[in-house]
């Protein structure tokens, strides 16, 4: 009962600090619960959708003519295979809307029985899928987002027999290929259209090596009792049957999930790290509050001890006080997370093409929040150890150990810059008190600077290149491919129009098997276009390849290893001469030259080239001139935006979230720390007033002091960012293929977070110090 009475009195007496902790913990809990639940919801959303359409463990794309009965029988009879389903589709060489072409393979299919159609907003499904009529198609979300087209829009699809216009009748959920982060796309057409197009293209000669007219999509499911991972299963089936090698590409079920979830995962990972840093900040604030609280209540604890309270009981009261605040915050945060989960799920829908579940992962969240409580209990127990040192007699006499101020950072107080030097002295005299605040600022600034690095990279093309991304302003694609000589002619023409730099010349990308495992090969005309070599050297000879660090890690390979690379029924040996970074296929790929590819593929030509123009304003004009001069030989497009708008928007939104949270956090932290400092310094404020200091001057001094603390913390944060931001971002962005994030620092990378946090601290501490006005000099009177 006595514990409850004191607990109630303490909460009543320290409402400010109690509710600050409630608020901080509510923010943390809301963010944690949202991140965990959104992650779970999207994963489950993908799994549910995959189950609905009976997605197989391995999806192989194979030219209809290469899928022989024997090959299919081999696969069906394989000991690990539980079932095989085949669906025929028509290979479309182009899909365009409003002059923009979808840059990846598109397959026309007729059957969409098990699929679901999104409602108008994309937040749910329609009850039934209307049967498509002639001239109508269903597209998946990825195309909608990429080309900004929607229901009712007319698109042009080119197949081997010609180009046709179709009207979009709706957006379909495709958990296999529907996400924006997956290149291939299925387009569903009416039965009548499919039949007529099929009969038109079937039997036509394929336009070139890289294309076929009819593609069979082979969905291979592993047996229920097969314990192998999807990757090992696919590798084994391919080694035994060569089904993957015979096709021009494959996609495992686990990779479909991985690619679909790629972007939300990155965002959630970054936010998780940020929330963990905020959690550290909350624990630091709490410890600071507790520690100063004990110092200030020294006499009270002495009196309590004199009345018979044992140290354990006092520690229980303090722990209960803080844990109650945390629990309250967690409950509020969890409730507030409910609408947030739904909102976040909808935000990612345009990229994932999946409507996530709407639930809160209560079990996982409770476990995480319990862990947070556990950490708090540990910290509270550590901090409250000093209660055992309080002796009743000494405490009642106000007799704490004499305080000596000794600091190496003492700067003389000067008449010029009087307030600033005095504020600096107040800071240096009690640096320990501000260490926690400094640490929190350092964490916030570290993260803000890391986000600035990320934002800078979005707009810095040099940084993109350093990370192995083929950035270019002007992209040229050759429908039927050209030789090096022919491309040279085009470049001569381009050189007459404007100055340029060649970014890449390539055959394109294709899935080849490396020691049985199919991974993407990026085939360039020359080794010089292979970028971001991190180890070893670039390709010199036709039997050499450069592999990404991630792919090499996955396959357990290193520089100098010899690998067997297979394409359909041909195989050749290559040596890994270097490791690089390349973002294609989430960083799992390798690069080879056209000479190297010629050992496996006949008639290797150049299909793509990219250029960086010196005069960007000429871009549209240059593309038009090339189009005029070369007609059907090439398609030239100018686009100087290095990143898709959706991603840029999402990264900017995330940066904004980090900044807003940081500002909000600084406000609460300043409020808490200032109120404690204010109570401790009430006497000094009275003395200063007695000496003739005005409230305004004292408030300014208070604010300057906290700005100095913020400045020290911010410098530490910038230092941390310079040292660790690259590593942290590499670890997170490894998911999208960036294994070694090249950090480029600008003045603004550090200046913006530094100035923002210092300004926030100045303003918030100035506002928090309004109580200085209420201090009366007569409080110094001792009657």
């Amino acid at each position: 009962m006595e514990i409850l009475t004191i607990l109630r009195a303490n909460i009543r007496h320290k409402k400010g600090s109690f509710f600050s902790i409630v608020l901080l913990m509510a923010i943390i809990s809301m963010a944690l619960v949202s991140i965990v639940s959104v992650t779970d919801n999207i994963y489950h959303g993908i799994a549910d959708a995959q189950e609905r359409i009976h997605a197989g463990t391995l999806l192989c794309m194979i030219d209809k003519n290469k899928l022989t009965k024997e090959l299919l029988a081999d696969v069906e009879n394989h000991e690990l295979v539980g079932g095989v389903e085949t669906v025929e589709s028509i290979d479309a060489s182009a899909f365009s809307y409003d002059g923009n072409e979808y840059g990846n393979s598109v397959f026309l299919r007729e059957d969409c029985q098990n699929y679901r159609l999104f409602n108008e907003k994309g937040t749910g499904y329609q009850k039934e899928i209307p049967v498509l009529r002639r001239g109508e198609i269903y597209i998946s979300q990825g195309i909608k987002t990429t080309l900004s087209c929607g229901k009712g829009d007319v698109v042009t699809i080119t197949v081997a027999s010609g180009s046709y216009d179709f009207k979009i009748a709706g957006i379909i959920e495709d958990p296999e290929l529907g996400a924006q982060t997956i290149g291939w796309k299925n387009i569903f057409v009416s039965r009548e259209d499919f039949r007529s197009l099929y009969s038109e293209v079937d039997g036509l000669a394929k336009p070139e090596e890289n294309f076929c007219t009819i593609v069979t999509q082979v969905s291979i499911d592993k047996k229920d009792d097969c314990a192998l991972t999807d990757a090992k299963f696919a590798r084994q089936v391919n080694l035994d049957t060569e089904i993957v090698d015979m096709g021009f590409g494959s996609l495992r079920k686990d990779l479909q999930v991985n690619y679909t979830f790629l972007f939300p995962k990155i965002i959630c990972l970054i936010l998780s790290v940020f929330v963990l840093l905020l959690l550290v900040a909350v624990v630091v604030v709490m410890c600071h509050s507790l520690s100063t609280g004990i110092e200030m209540e020294y006499v009270t604890f002495g009196v309590m001890k004199a009345q018979g309270f044992v140290k354990g009981k006092i520690r229980v009261i303090l722990a209960a006080q803080y844990l109650l605040a945390e629990l309250g915050g967690m409950v509020f945060g969890t409730v507030a997370a409910l609408p947030l989960c739904r909102w976040l799920g909808n935000i990612f829908q345009p990229i994932t093409g999946i409507v996530p579940r709407r639930s809160v992962s209560l079990g996982e969240c409770v476990l995480i929040l319990c862990a947070v409580l556990g950490i708090s209990v540990l910290c509270i127990l550590l901090i409250t150890r000093k209660i055992s040192k309080i002796m009743p007699v000494r405490a009642i006499a106000g007799g704490r150990d004499e305080v000596y101020f000794d600091s190496r950072f003492h700067v003389a107080i000067r008449k010029k810059l009087f307030s600033v030097t005095l504020a600096f002295r107040q800071f240096t005299s009690n640096m320990k008190q501000y260490a926690g605040v400094g640490a929190i600022v350092a964490l916030l600034v570290y993260f803000m600077a890391a986000m600035m690095v990320l934002v800078n990279v979005i707009s810095a093309t040099t940084a993109w290149e350093a990370m192995g991304i083929d950035y270019s302003d002007l992209d040229i694609s050759f429908e039927k491919g050209v030789t090096r000589q022919e491309l040279g002619e085009v470049e001569k023409t381009l050189g007459k129009i404007c100055k340029f730099e060649t970014s890449y010349q390539s055959w394109g990308n294709s899935y080849l098997s490396v020691d049985g495992e199919q991974i993407m090969a990026c085939i360039y005309s020359d080794g010089k276009f292979v970028k971001a070599i991190s180890e070893g050297r670039n390709i010199r000879y036709d039997n050499e390849i450069v592999m990404t660090e991630i792919a090499a890690d996955n396959l357990g390979l290193k520089i100098g290893d010899k690998v067997s690379v297979g394409y359909q029924d041909r195989k050749a040996e290559y040596m890994i001469c270097g490791l690089n970074q390349h973002m294609n296929d989430a960083g799992v790929n390798f690069c080879m030259t056209m000479d190297g590819a010629a050992r496996l593929i006949d008639d290797v030509k150049l299909f793509y080239a990219g250029y960086i123009l010196e005069d960007k304003s000429q871009g549209e004009n240059v593309a038009a001139k090339l189009g005029e001069q070369y007609g059907e030989l090439l398609t030239a497009e100018y686009d100087d935006a290095p990143m898709d708008e959706t991603y840029e928007l999402a990264i900017n939104a995330m940066t904004l979230v980090v900044y807003v949270f940081s500002v909000f956090f600084s406000m609460i932290v300043v409020q808490m720390v200032c109120s404690k400092a204010f109570i401790r310094e009430r006497r000094d404020i009275g003395i200063y007033k007695a000496l003739g200091f005005t409230s305004a001057r004292l408030r300014f001094q208070f604010a300057v002091r906290f700005s100095i603390v913020a400045a020290f913390g911010a410098v530490a944060g910038c230092g941390l960012a310079a040292l660790f931001a690259g590593g942290m971002l590499s670890a997170i962005l490894r998911q999208i293929g960036i294994s070694s994030f090249r950090v480029t620092f600008h003045f603004s990378t550090f200046a913006i977070p530094f100035l923002l946090i210092c300004t926030c601290f100045f303003l918030f501490s100035y506002m928090a110090s309004r109580r200085v006005k209420r201090v009366e000099v007569r409080e110094l009177v001792e009657e």
């Binding site: 008449k415 010029k416 002295r425 006497r683 007033k689 007695a690 003739g692 001057r697 009366e776 009177v781």
Partner: protein, 253 residues
């Protein structure tokens, strides 16, 4: 005839207490004359310190006027009061109240820096001079926690006079000191007064009261008696003590 530099007219001060009003000062009339060493005495709770704080502008009277240089302190804005505190008035507290994280030198100089009429060099020079005079030259870079109570109070006196105030207020300046330190502090105050400094001091210490040239006795928030004395002379201390004692006895002290 001495010139009055600070006057109080019907000054009242009351505080809210248990839903009612607790009257500490009731219509006090008072004059402080230039060059006087005025000491206010009285029993505990008689309102001595409250009167001192109301007269020094550290606190505002509930009613009445406190006139300094023709202006009423009660109506002054915070900025004007602040200027008064660092420019015209000096204050010595019973508990010294030095700023704990400033050295003795800085404690004194900080007050001086507030004065816009003096350069930093002048303030530093004046501070050095005062600390030397107070016998604190050797410990000027020490922090308050590193020196004795007497040294702290001497530093507080130096701080109070660094801006050469017109009036020096002292609230029980020897209350927290031992006999030796008390005598030292009183000697300094007497020296200052004999140098022309007007002082208004509150005390219940008879030894301290002997330094006064004018004694006031406060009872239940009113001035109950006044005694004028010649300038302090150590040689005549015994006779002076008997005179003051007799006066206080007559007031039932």
């Amino acid at each position: 005839m001495k010139k009055s530099i600070l006057s109080a007219r019907k000054v009242c001060k009351s505080f809210a207490h248990n839903g009612g009003q607790l009257h500490i000062l009731s219509h006090v009339d008072f004059e402080l004359y230039e060059g006087d060493f005025t000491v206010v005495m009285g029993a505990s709770g008689s309102g001595k310190s409250t009167l001192l704080y109301a007269l020094s502008g550290m606190d505002r009277a509930t009613a009445g006027e406190v006139l300094y240089d023709g202006r009423d302190l009660v109506d002054m804005r915070e900025k004007e009061l602040a200027r008064l505190r660092h420019h015209d008035f000096g204050f010595i507290f019973q508990q010294m109240h030095l700023i704990s994280n400033l050295s003795l030198f800085e404690n004194v100089a900080v007050s001086g820096y507030l004065n816009k009429e003096r350069t930093a060099g002048e303030v530093n020079e004046r501070t050095e001079e005062l600390l030397k005079k107070m016998g604190l030259d050797g410990v000027k870079s020490h922090l308050p926690s590193q020196v004795s109570g007497g040294e702290q109070q001497r530093c507080a006196i130096a701080r109070a006079v660094v801006n050469t105030p017109k009036v020096l207020f002292a609230d029980e300046p020897t209350g927290a000191l031992n006999r030796h330190n008390s005598t030292e502090v009183l000697r300094l105050l007497t020296d200052l007064n004999q140098g022309g400094q007007s002082i208004l001091m509150v005390t219940h210490d008879l030894k301290a009261a002997l330094r006064a040239t004018r004694l006031l006795y406060l009872e239940d928030g009113r001035i109950a008696g006044e005694l004028k004395l010649p300038e302090y002379d150590r040689q005549e201390e015994k006779g002076r003590e008997a005179q003051v004692n007799a006066w206080l006895t007559s007031l039932e002290w």
